[in-house]
Amino acid sequence: MGSATPVDDEAALIAQLRAGDESAYEQVVRTYGGRLLAVTRRIVGSEEDARDIVQDAFLNAFKSVGRFEGNSKLSTWLHRIAVNAALMKLRTRKRKPEQSIETMLPSFLEDGHHEERFKSWDEPVDKALERAETRQLVRAKIDELPDGYRTVLVLRDIEGLDTEETAKMLGLSVNATKIRLHRARQALRTMLAPHFAASGGGKATP
């Protein structure tokens, strides 16, 4: 417990890493490992793969700590290494063809109006998410998004990267990244709606 305390003096910690101080390696793994594991798991969708990726990410980081320039925070640097490795894993893995997201996007009538009448949600999300089961539900729905959409949503909305950096990591254009994020959010809304509005959505009357 309490192992994820923030690092007060990052420069000193990096100096210790460079000097090969065993306790510094352990501190880094204990401080950042949980968060790295969570984001990696969310990208690759497998606990076992996530562990392998995080382990390799730490080893790579320790080896190249001499090249760490200190322009970014240590945590940001570690996240980049792990996220890149996770994305690489996703690309090399044999996957079934990407499932379509179209059915989870809003549909419109010929006159441009929404086809669906949106039923308001029962309570504010922060209140709903005070319940562990609701947080679990939201994570499960994010995990159900097709890879290409889930990764954008994770990098932008959860990791908090900006559009440019997300685009670069994914090898997409800035515009494609924005479109994917928007669709991912819309699809997630569609998946959450039946759980957040007691009586669900309905067709708009013409």
Binding site: Y25, V29, F58, V65, H114, P124, A128, Q186, L188, R189
Partner: protein, 83 residues
């Protein structure tokens, strides 16, 4: 502006990137269309829900790193040190 266009502009509006000339039309439509108003609210709630469910304060995070992972990293590092 129709509901369809409003849905397209939603993300830029939420992030404050929608150009002024579109924003006025967007807000006018929003003030007249309850359904789009509701959709916008749910869109924003969805983003927030993702952040809360997977964010810093989330249950699956971050304090406890599996002990075997810590041991595995440290053992592997000794086998293949930097220098």
């Amino acid at each position: 502006m129709k509901c369809r266009e409003l849905a397209d502009f939603l993300m830029d509006y939420v992030s404050g990137e929608l150009p002024e000339e579109h924003r006025a039309h967007f807000e006018l439509h929003l003030s007249r269309c309850r359904n789009c108003h509701e959709y916008l609210a749910q869109y924003e709630s969805t983003v927030k829900a993702g952040r809360i469910a997977c964010g810093e304060m989330s249950d699956e995070l971050p304090g406890d790193v599996p002990e075997d992972l810590v041991k595995a990293v440290l053992a592997a590092r000794k086998l293949d040190p930097a220098k």
